[in-house]
Amino acid sequence: MLKCDIAIIGGGPAGMAAACAAYDAGVKDVIIFDREDEMGGILRQCIHNGFGLHKLGKELTGPEYAAVYADMVKERGIKVYTNTTVLKLSNDKVITATNTEGILKVKAISVILAMGCRERSRGALNICGTRPAGIYSAGTAQKLINCEGYMVGKKVVILGSGDIGLIMARRMSLEGAKVEAVCEIMSYSGGLTRNIVQCLEDYNIPLYLSTTVAEIHGRERLEGVTIAEVDANRQPIESTKRYIPCDTLLLSCGLIPENELTTGAGIEIDHITSGAVVDQNRQTEIEGVFACGNVLQVHDLVDYVSDEAEIAGKGAAEYVMGKSTKGEVIITKSGNGVRYVLPQRIVKNDEGVSLFLRVTKPFGKVKFTVKSGNEVLVTAIRIKAAPGEMEKLTVKADKMAIAKNEITVELEEV
C-alpha cells in the first residue's frame, strides 16, 4: 500500500487549489487523483469567459482558469494520478482507486474531498411523457459541444435558469440553434444577473418564470414539449399549457454534490447543502478528512471554490503537522430568511471566522445579523440578496471570543 500525507480526490478547481495551499503551508507529500485525462474538472468544458475576476484579478475562460492552477500544481511538483477513479474511501483514510494499470491503495494521513457535483437528471424531476433522444442535462450538452465538437440539436427548450442553462442558451444560439424558451419553475432565476443579461436578453431568448415543462413528446427523437405555468404548489396549470415544437430539451435544474465516497466513509451529510458537515477549516466529522468546492456546497463562482479549497488545503496541512483542531464547539444555525450557513460548526480558537450562507428567496435591501444568545457579533447591510448569490459574513476574533454554544444568522428586510 502506498502512503502519503495528503490525498486529494478530484483535480478540478477545488482539488488543485487545495493541493497548492497544502503544499504552501508546508506539506509536500500531496497526491491528487483525477478521473479524467487532464486536471481541470468541469472548467475544461466551460469555454466562456467570466472566470477569475475576483480571485486572479483578470477575466479568463474556464480552461484558462484551470490552466493557471494546473501550472501551479506542476510548479510545485505535486503528484497527480490522472485517468484514475477513486472507488472507495474508508473511515481510516485508505483510498482505493483504479486506472489502466490496476487497483491502487493509498493510506493517507489526511484526505481532501473535492469531487464536485452532478446535475439533476430528467428522472429525478419526474417530467411526464415519453422517453425520446434529445434530452440532455445542460452540462452534458456543453461537454458534447465544447469538448467533443458535436451539436446536440437545432431547436431547443431549456428547463431551469441556473447558470449552466443560461450559458448553454447562448452557446446553442452561437452554434446556430434556435433557443425557443428558457423555463424556470420558480418565480425568480437562480442564475447570476450578468448571465441573464448576457446570455438571454442579448440574444432575445424569452425567460418564462413560474413555468415548467409539463410533458415530453416524441417516440424516437424529441418532437416537442408542453410547457405550463405552475401554481403555488409548483403544479402545472392546465389552462396555461402550450406546445412548443423542439428537438432538444436541456435541463439545468440544480446541482447535487457527489458525496457517494463521503457517505461510504460514514461522514454525516447536511441535508440542506447536500455536502458534508464541516468546521471552519472544512474538516468533516472524521478527523483529517476535509471537503471543499462543489462537493461541499454548490458555489456560484469558481473563484469562491478556489478560496474555499485554500481553507481546506491549509487545514489539512495543519492537521498533518499536528496542530490540534479540538476545542469548544459552536454550532451555526439559520434564522429568518437564511437557508443554510456553512461551516455548520466552529471549533473555538483565538481567530475570527467567515460564514457563508444563502438566503431562502430573493429580497430587496436586507440587514443580516449574526448573533450568539443575546450578543450581536456582526451586522451587515446588502442592497439586495438572492438565493443564487452566496453571502459571506466575517465574525472578527474579538467577537468570536464572546460566542457561546450557538451562532444564528438571520436577516430582516429594511
Binding site: G102, I103, R118, A133, E260
Partner: protein, 477 residues
C-alpha cells in the same frame, strides 16, 4: 432465408423459447421489430419471481407459475443472471382485506405452493421494520424472488444465438402468407423470411400477428403500468417484496428492492390503446407515491432517479394463451403473457416444445449445446487483488466510464461485442447499467457514444438512443 421455426418477438418469452429450441437440431430465427431485444413489457415490469399463490387454480397461469419458479432459478444460474430469493409479503390493511389473505393462502395451497405462512402485522414488522403500522395480516411467501427482466431476456437470446439461433432486428412484421410448406413472413422494410412453423410471442402485437397468419381468435388488451425507481442509497428500505392484497386491476402497487439494488415502486394499471402508450403521467406518479406509502410510509420519493412505464398484454379471460392454433396449421400462439409471465418464462418455453412435438416437430438434441453464458458481472464480483491482476491483462477494465454504477470501459466493450450485440445507448444501458445510476448518463453518455461508434464502425452522429430516428446528435459544430 428459410428456417424450420420463426419466433415472432424478442421479449422474455420469445427469448426463452429460442433458448429452449436452440437445444435441438432446428434452424430457428427470432424476429424483433425494434433495434434491440427486451424492448416491450420485458424491459419495464416489476422483475418479480412470484410465489404462485395468486393465479386461479388449474389455469395455465397457475401451472406455469408453480412449475416456473424453480426452473427460472435454475436457468438464471446457468445464464449468470443475478437474482435474489428475497421472499414476498402480501399485506392486508384491516379486517376486510384479511379475508383475502386467507383466500390467497388457500389458493396457493391448491396451486401446490407449500412454503407459505400467514403472519401478523407485528411479526411481519419484526422481519421488515419499514412496513406500515396499518398492516394487520401478511401472507409471507419465502420462495418469491427478484430478477432483472431485461438482463434475463438478453442473456436468453444471447445464449440462444451462441447456440445457433439467428436474430433479425428492425423486422416489423406486416404480412404473413401461408403456403403448403409453411409461412412467408414479410417486414415493413421489404424483407422476407420463410419457415415451416411460426411461434407467436409478439407480446402486445400477438393478436395482430395471429390475425395476419389467419387466426383471429383472441384480442390483446394493453395495460400500462408506471413505475418510479429510486437511488441505490434507498435500496435497503425494504428487503422483501411488499404487495398489497390484489384487486381486479392486478397485483397492485408493490415496493421492492431490485436485483441490482435499487428500490422500485409501482405499477399502476391503466388500459391503454396500444403498446406505444408508455408515457409517464401525473396521475400515475401520484398513484404510485400514494399507494406505495400506504405499505411503506418512509419511502424517500425525493430519491427517485427515473420513472418508466411498461405495457403488459392481457386478454379478457385473464389466462395465458399457449396453444397450437386451432385454425392455422403450424402456428403456435404464446400470447397474453402478463403477470406471472416472467416467473413462468422457462416453464412456458418448455411447454411450447411439448406443443411443437404434438404438431409434428422432431426434436433431436444437439450434442454440443452449451446452456451457460459468460458472467458479464464477473469483474464486479472480483476482489481488489483479482481486479488488479485482471486489469493488468485487460487495461480497459481499469477505466471507469459510468461513475455512478462503477462500470468500466472493458465491461462496456465486452457487452457491446457479446450476443446480442448492443447497437445503441439504451442497449448498452440494459446490458451494463452504464447510465442507469443516479446521474442517468449525464457524465458517461459522451464516452458511451464513442465506444458504440468505435465498436460498430459508425460515426458519432449516427449513434442512436434506441435505434430508428432516435439520433443523439445532429452533426458536427
Amino acid at each position: 432465408m428459410n428456417y424450420d421455426i420463426i419466433i415472432a418477438g424478442g421479449g422474455v418469452i420469445g427469448g426463452m423459447v429460442a433458448r429452449e429450441l436452440s437445444k435441438y437440431k432446428l434452424s430457428v430465427c427470432v424476429l424483433e421489430k425494434q433495434s434491440d431485444v427486451a424492448i416491450g413489457a420485458s424491459k419495464a415490469n416489476s422483475g418479480i419471481i412470484h410465489g404462485g399463490y395468486d393465479p386461479e387454480p388449474n389455469t395455465l397461469k397457475a401451472k406455469m407459475n408453480s412449475r416456473g419458479v424453480d426452473l427460472l432459478y435454475k436457468v438464471a444460474k446457468e445464464l449468470n443472471v443475478p437474482f435474489k430469493q428475497n421472499g414476498s409479503m402480501i399485506c392486508a390493511f384491516g379486517k376486510e382485506e384479511e379475508a383475502e389473505v386467507f383466500n390467497l393462502f388457500e389458493r396457493g395451497r391448491e396451486n401446490g405452493i407449500e412454503e407459505m405462512r400467514i403472519i401478523t402485522g407485528d411479526e411481519a414488522r419484526e422481519i421488515e421494520p419499514a412496513l406500515s403500522e396499518d398492516v394487520s395480516l401478511v401472507l409471507y411467501v419465502p420462495t418469491a424472488g427478484i430478477i432483472c427482466p431485461y438482463k434475463l431476456t438478453i442473456a436468453a437470446i444471447g445464449n440462444a444465438m451462441d447456440n445457433g439461433v439467428e436474430l433479425i432486428r428492425n423486422f416489423e412484421i406486416c404480412d404473413i402468407g401461408k403456403t403448403d410448406s409453411g409461412f412467408v413472413v414479410k417486414s415493413t422494410n421489404g424483407e422476407e423470411v420463410t419457415a415451416k412453423y411460426l411461434i407467436n410471442c409478439a407480446g402486445c402485437s400477438s393478436d395482430k400477428v395471429a390475425k395476419m397468419a389467419g387466426d383471429g381468435e383472441f384480442e390483446i388488451i394493453p395495460r400500462a403500468g408506471e413505475y418510479l425507481l429510486l437511488d441505490k442509497a434507498e435500496g435497503s428500505t425494504v428487503s422483501h417484496t411488499i404487495f398489497q392484497v390484489p384487486s381486479a386491476n392486478g397485483k397492485g402497487i408493490l415496493v421492492t428492492p431490485t436485483a441490482d439494488g435499487n428500490l422500485l415502486t409501482g405499477p399502476t394499471a391503466a388500459v391503454v390503446e396500444s403498446a406505444d402508450n408508455n408515457e409517464i403521467t401525473p396521475e400515475g406518479i401520484r398513484t404510485v407515491i400514494n399507494l406505495a406509502k400506504r405499505s411503506v410510509p418512509e419511502i424517500q420519493f425525493s430519491k427517485v432517479i427515473t420513472s418508466f412505464a411498461g405495457v403488459r398484454s392481457s386478454e379478457k379471460d385473464g389466462d395465458f394463451i399457449i396453444e397450437a392454433s386451432k385454425k392455422v396449421e403450424g402456428l403456435v400462439n404464446v400470447a397474453a403473457i402478463d403477470s406471472p409471465g416472467l416467473t413462468s418464462c422457462v416453464a412456458i418455453a418448455e411447454y411450447v416444445t411439448v406443443i411443437l412435438k404434438g404438431i409434428g416437430v422432431t426434436l433431436t438434441q444437439k450434442e454440443n449445446w452449451n446452456g451457460h453464458r459468460a458472467d458479464m458481472e464477473a469483474f464486479n464480483h472480483m476482489s481488489d487483488e483479482k481486479k488488479d491482476e485482471f486489469i493488468k491483462q485487460n487495461p480497459a477494465y481499469g477505466k471507469i466510464v459510468c461513475r455512478c454504477e462503477g462500470i468500466t470501459e472493458g465491461e462496456i466493450r465486452a457487452a457491446v461485442r457479446q450476443n446480442p450485440k448492443a447497437l445503441d445507448m439504451d442497449a448498452v444501458k440494459r446490458r451494463t447499467r452504464s447510465g442507469m445510476g443516479r446521474c442517468q448518463g449525464g457524465f458517461c453518455s459522451p464516452y458511451v457514444m464513442r465506444i458504440i461508434a468505435e465498436e460498430n464502425g459508425i460515426k458519432m452522429e449516427d449513434v442512436t438512443k434506441k435505434g430508428g430516428a432516435s439520433k443523439m446528435l445532429v452533426g458536427r459544430i
